[in-house]
Amino acid sequence: MKGMSSLLVFPDPPPPELAQSLDLAGFSWKAVSNSSVAEAYAADHEWNGAVIVADEDPNSAFSLARSLRKRANPIQGILLLLNATQLGQLELRDELFDDFILTPFRHQELEARLKHLFWSQGIDSRGEVLTHGDLVLNIETYQATINGRPLDLTYMEYELLKFLVSHPGKVFSRETLLSRVWGYDYFGGARTVDVHVRRLRSKLGEENAGLIQTVRSVGYSFGQSRWGS
């Protein structure tokens, strides 16, 4: 069975403002540096679209777009990002993209264009899914998996993980986590957060236990921010 589908993003790493916009809009995405990385990933995942930034390295960008179109199962829904001086380069390349947007872009425009693009392709791109590396949380079914292995979480463990995964790289105090995740109707107190983090780490398994970091005398953070802190 194929894993969750994501949006392909080029280059790797993508410009921070793009990563931020995609995260804020709730898209599940994965950055790739070339077509072989994209193919390797496609072995057990689906690509449901692509956002290709062409203003830094146009040659690689167009060549990636071409290879995505030439696949046995061509990727539909390619959005090209380029700057105004590059408009001339679109000529004779109409088959390589479905829509384009000029940089610097506005967050709302990017989101609206992607939504429209996916709508016209009949793809549900957003699938209520949160991902971080090998960790996938399906918001619709309340299920979490890591490396495809289901995680057996209690309700509060799931809620805490969901909250952390939705805010990668951000540091939260125990009090904040307690009020945002538990609400105040709980007699466990702020140290309860430590207990749940310890339980989550134990369920995530030793190799992933570092996903949740203890920030000394502050609280906890999850993963790495994908657009810098």
């Binding site: 079914t141 309340y142 299920q143 289901p150 057996d152 209690t154 309700y155 509060m156 463990e157 799931y158 809620e159 105090s173 125990r174 009090e175 007699f187 466990g188 107190g189 702020a190 140290r191 309860t192 207990v195 310890r198 339980r199 134990s202 369920k203």
Partner: protein, 442 residues
């Protein structure tokens, strides 16, 4: 979208193809009870509760008020990791209610919740970490040890270590983090120390861990027991419990300016426990057999006392590592592995809070080895003794306003009645000691 915890459980049951749900609750004596329902019944159980006849279950209800409702606590849903994955089974702890929707006074979980709520109103959360001791025997008839190793002995090939390792894996899989585990002092005796957690969750964890220990042993054809003193020789099974109060993020027991690092709150809390310990010992040490463990020299306290580095004291104040202020704690050493954790935590917490509220004075630290103290010396130095048998403990409990108030009328009365009849049943029995000693000469 706000996700309701009940929806989360229902959805998980569906997604994971759960076939059976075990509804767990604990009776007054601390035995885990279970009702199994199918997934189809779970939603109704959340909404309306599951009707059952409480009088059928020892300690839950009297005949005239027999019907009660079990309502699953969605926070506690877990899949049982030892069940064949093709037949996923979940467990969920239940709270017991009267038919009119009020909490059922005979439910130990409700008792602890009520007491923790009172602590919360004073700004405190209560954290505990138990050291749970138990034995493995060949069967439940004859306490025959599986090995003759001692404290910390490395007996890699013995069955006991294998069982303990399996137990830890199951425990971690159910989100019960273990701090240490090792072979204890006596033959075939083991200890599992659970990592500090808030005491309500810990009481659930203790119930779960006891089941895991027994279950893993049973699968290997071995009997695991939490009986406090199964063997004549050597030490019994205690449940030394580390505890502290937190105020939000801060350990309320810690004071950097104190020579022991102990705050006034910690001292008053200790004073409260010491003052009331004899009255609540029937709850923390509830079996006739419990008192066979509480004799001098076997890691078990005899006198009402506290000390830093003195394992004969009732309360020990472990030295915390530098920079580990949040681990400031006290260790209550009388509790045994057969106690009902919900009730035991309730009485200890209530006694400690009473000490804070009424400003009790902490007695002087006991610096000598209390186990080697003669009776008359102890008396001369004003040391009070813990009850020496269940009869004494019950007499002291019966007079205790604190225990009455903490447990509530229903459990207080039922517990005394049940335990008095246990004592009477015991008193009429002729023990092997008497036969060996008296039969030949009298």
């Amino acid at each position: 979208m706000e996700l309701k915890k009940e929806d989360y459980v229902l959805r998980t049951v569906e997604e994971r193809g759960v076939r059976l749900i075990r509804l767990w609750f604990t009776d007054v004596l601390g035995q885990l009870k279970s009702l199994a329902i199918s997934p189809a019944e779970l939603e109704a159980a959340f909404e309306e509760g599951l009707h059952f006849d409480g009088s059928a279950i020892d300690g839950f209800s009297r005949v005239q008020e027999s019907d009660v409702l079990a309502i699953p606590d969605a926070n506690s849903f877990e899949l049982l990791p030892w069940v064949d994955p093709s037949e996923p089974t979940g467990r969920i702890f239940c709270d017991i209610y009267n038919l009119d929707g009020t909490p059922f006074a005979g439910d130990p979980r409700n008792v602890l919740r009520r007491n923790l709520q009172q602590a919360k109103e004073k700004g405190f959360t209560f954290f505990t970490a138990p050291e749970i001791e138990f034995f493995y025997f060949e069967d439940a008839v004859d306490p025959k040890p599986l090995d003759h190793a001692g404290y910390f002995d490395l007996t890699t090939l013995d069955l006991g270590s294998t069982l303990r390792r399996r137990t830890l894996a199951m425990s971690e899989a159910m989100g019960i983090p273990v701090e240490y585990s090792f072979h204890e002092d006596n033959a075939s005796q083991h200890e599992i120390d659970l990592r500090y957690t808030e005491s309500f969750g810990m009481a659930d964890n203790i119930m779960t861990l006891r089941l895991i220990v027994r279950k893993i042993a049973l699968d290997a054809g071995v009997h695991a027991t939490f009986m406090p003193k199964p063997l004549d020789a050597g030490q019994g099974s205690g449940m030394h419990t580390h505890m502290s109060l937190f105020e939000g993020d801060v350990n309320a027991f810690h004071d950097p300016d104190d020579e022991m690092g102990l705050s006034v709150i910690a001292r008053k809390f200790m004073a409260g426990i010491l003052h009331h310990a004899p009255e609540f010992t029937a709850v923390t040490n509830q079996l006739v057999n419990s008192y066979k463990r509480m004799i001098a020299g076997y890691e078990s306290p005899v006198y009402v006392s506290w000390a830093r580095n003195n394992r004969s004291a009732l309360i020990r104040v472990p030295i915390h590592k530098a920079g580990k202020e949040s681990s400031t704690r006290i260790e209550y050493r009388a509790l045994d592995s057969a106690a009902n954790p919900y009730l035991a935590y309730s009485v200890i917490l209530a006694a400690g809070l009473k000490g804070i509220e009424e400003n009790y004075e902490l007695p002087k630290e006991a610096d000598e080895n209390l186990w080697s103290l003669s009776r008359s010396d102890a008396k001369a130095s004003g040391l009070r003794q813990l009850p020496q048998d269940l009869r004494q403990a019950l007499d002291l409990m019966e007079e205790s306003e604190l225990v009455h108030e903490t447990l509530g009328e229903h459990i207080f009365e039922w517990f005394l009645r049940n335990k008095q009849s246990e004592w009477e049943a015991y008193q009429g029995r002729v023990t092997p000691f008497e036969v060996e000693r008296y039969l030949p000469v009298w």
